[in-house]
Amino acid sequence: MPSHDRLIQRTATVEKRVEAIQTALDARGMNATGAVKELGHLAQEEWNPKNGARVVAKAWVDPAFRERLLANGRVAAAEIGLSLPKHHRHLVVLENTATVQNVICCTLCSCTAFTIIGLPPDWYKDLEYRSRVVRESRTVLREMGLDLSPEVEIRVWDTTADTRYMVLPTQPPETIGWPEDRLTEIVTRDSMIGVARL
């Protein structure tokens, strides 16, 4: 039987709940605070879409790399010093064309290849995107500003296992011939999720 006190007690704020976990782990000598510093830095500074942008830019200028990337994303990403967590054993790179638009989602939670394309943005984790993108993809993309012509085939990829996906966007024609560094700057996270074209 819960006590009367328990019944009238309010739910603690999320800030207080996180603090409670962290201090309780620290009190057991587990140095959770040290881990928060280290992992917080990785999540905010290291795992960002600039990584994926380097992959895309290299694939645009180097056809042999592009081949290797499409064959095995994990191995190709490692060539330029990028890694995935141990449990992401496979990175599938999905090539857009003039008539194919690939789109990534995770209907069951919010999985992404976060070390490559960055941690997922808020809308990717929202119930609206997760519920609707598999069933009414064209309308969802239009709402997000990507109005595809009817001849473009939409291919949605639901990240239900530990395979991770990233989209290789088509290169804007006006950027053909640009150096790789400059190309890196035009590649956005949303284009690698597949909800935007460049």
Binding site: A12, V18, I21, A24, L25, A32, R89, C109, E136, T159
Partner: protein, 205 residues
């Protein structure tokens, strides 16, 4: 389990709240929640399948109302209590209020014994399985037929791995479905690909 988390194809949700350059984090506590669960996984206190399952076990009203990182911290706290690392009383004392946790787990299951291997181009049907525990088969593909387009390396079987049962590694297949087959007369045309564990699949004629 046919839980609230299984969002794919559910109707009634409104417009996507899309902004360009949307942030991954909006507050410092979110960074901490994300780091703390990753820390617990790294220390081997629980695995990713246990982590995902504890989110799925949240009371449905709590699940729907909670932000992404509130779900993270609820799973983290639930598993720390279930694994005997912390107690709920200590957490509530430190947090100065109630600390809602996820509901207890139902039984899991082990890999299907006789699993078939498939090649790209094979037609496969998703078994019509109904389980009370963790499963990575979204409900919208149950019993549906599609075509294998690629195969992954082998992973621990989540239905066992989330429950502390012996989990053999098995591949997942990226299976291509037609949205019109998934939701007859009720979907916009598209090809929908799902990563499906070998144990969930059988050959279709």
């Amino acid at each position: 389990m046919d839980g609230m988390h299984d969002m794919g194809g559910r109707q009634g949700f409104g417009a996507i709240r899309y902004t360009q350059h949307a942030e991954a984090f909006h507050a410092e506590w979110e960074v901490r929640a994300n780091s703390l669960y990753a820390f617990a996984v790294r220390r081997g206190i629980f695995n990713m399948d246990e982590y995902r399952h504890a989110i799925e076990r949240m009371e449905p009203r709590h699940y729907l109302a909670a932000s992404y990182y509130e779900r993270s911290l609820t799973s983290l706290a639930t598993l720390l209590v279930e694994k005997g690392v912390l107690t709920r009383e200590e957490l509530e004392q430190r947090a100065q209020g109630q600390f809602p946790l996820a509901a207890p787990s139902a039984p899991g299951r082990t890999n299907v014994a006789a699993r078939e291997s498939f090649q790209t181009g094979d037609r496969v049907r998703v078994r019509a399985d109904y389980v009370p525990g963790h499963i990575r088969m979204p409900g919208y593909i149950r019993g549906k037929t599609g075509v294998v387009v690629s195969k992954s390396p082998a992973y621990p079987y989540p239905d066992a791995h989330a429950h502390g049962l012996k989990a053999e590694d098995e591949p997942t297949y990226d299976v291509r479905f037609r949205s019109e087959d998934l939701w007859p007369n009720s979907a916009e045309p598209a090809l929908v690909h799902v990563g499906v564990f070998q144990s969930y699949l059988e050959r279709a004629s």
